[in-house]
Symmetry: C2
Subunit: 170 residues, 2 copies
DNA sequence: CTGACTGCAAACCCTTTGCAGACCG
DNA sequence: CGGTCTGCAAAGGGTTTGCAGTCAG
């Protein structure tokens, strides 16, 4: 499924500006990789970006795609779906509940809300398939990470923030 | 963070019955692994279950934990958080949007809803940390998988359904 | 020109699998 | 006791990293 052509070009434009501003080089690979992600409505993985790019760029390699996608992520031009790169988590709470997730360390906590259990979902969604459950995910920075963040922000004043790689199962 | 002791025992009880009903053996390992997941409010990974169990059961191995957790998942006694075990997916749509996810093949589609963009989150959630974004995930079986499912349901009439392992980036 | 970037290959981490011995029922 | 289950070790798949050559600015 493809994104509207004009929208793709708008996103690419935005990417070019942001890249220039961040002082990174606009290589052929980066432009094509970004264009490919921007054009796909189905949130591709690195692998599927590679497959899509192969015909146009036979020599592009998977690791460049990874590096580029994470770079784009750091620049705030794309985001990732679901947990970054963690192990699978298991949940013995069988009641209908929702989650608070810390975007820094992955801490996950349940919460309940009768209101959120009965959300009104747009009718258009039914076209995708059956609707079995709806689940709300609240994202933020947990208190512990917030504390660490302020502590270390004393020294860092660089433009680009590193992609948090620390793991944590508190 | 620990789950209420009585609640844990209630869950373990439920597990014992369900296991008997399913005809699987109640080994020491299975009971302890289940108890550990049931007792953790933070949705542990296999690795953290292992660490928690090491003191009590020094010889338990990581692969047994994996096998047991997936077994519990198949029995409907635990569930998994986030995408089962896929590669990271990237998203170039920077607008506030929500997701429809097929639980069979992982197909993911965006949808928008002004109503869902401004949900009322319980105040208790603020205790966990800052609230930066809220995101609704609708789960179901996509039309394509639903078709396949009915086609193959002719032959299968086994009690326990296999854990869907197929991957798919449509 | 020169430092940033790419491609290659090998390393890494989490997870799964094959097999021989151990244990539940 | 027999078949299920465990532990071990090794394989597997996705992702990352070190290095030497390449390219954008």
């Amino acid at each position: 499924m493809e994104v509207d052509r004009a929208e793709v070009e708008r996103r690419v434009e935005h990417f070019m500006e942001a890249a220039k501003e961040a002082g990174i080089k606009l290589t052929h690979q980066r432009i094509e990789i970004f264009r490919q992600v921007a054009a796909s409505a189905d949130h591709p993985s690195a692998e599927s970006v590679l497959k899509a790019l192969q015909p146009r760029m036979p020599t592009v390699s998977l690791d460049t795609i990874y590096r580029t996608l994470w770079l784009l992520n750091d620049l705030g031009l794309v985001s990732t779906l679901g947990p970054k790169r963690e192990s699978v988590r298991f949940d013995a709470n069988l009641t209908h509940h929702h989650h608070y997730v810390c975007v820094r360390c992955g801490l996950t906590r349940d919460f309940e809300s009768a209101e959120l259990n009965s959300l009104h979902i747009p009718e258009s969604v039914a076209e995708f398939g059956s609707i079995d459950a709806t689940h709300v995910e609240v994202r933020g920075v947990c208190s512990r990470c917030a504390k660490e963040q302020t502590e270390e922000s004393e020294r860092n004043k660089s433009a680009i923030k590193p992609r948090g790689q620390e793991k944590n199962t508190p």
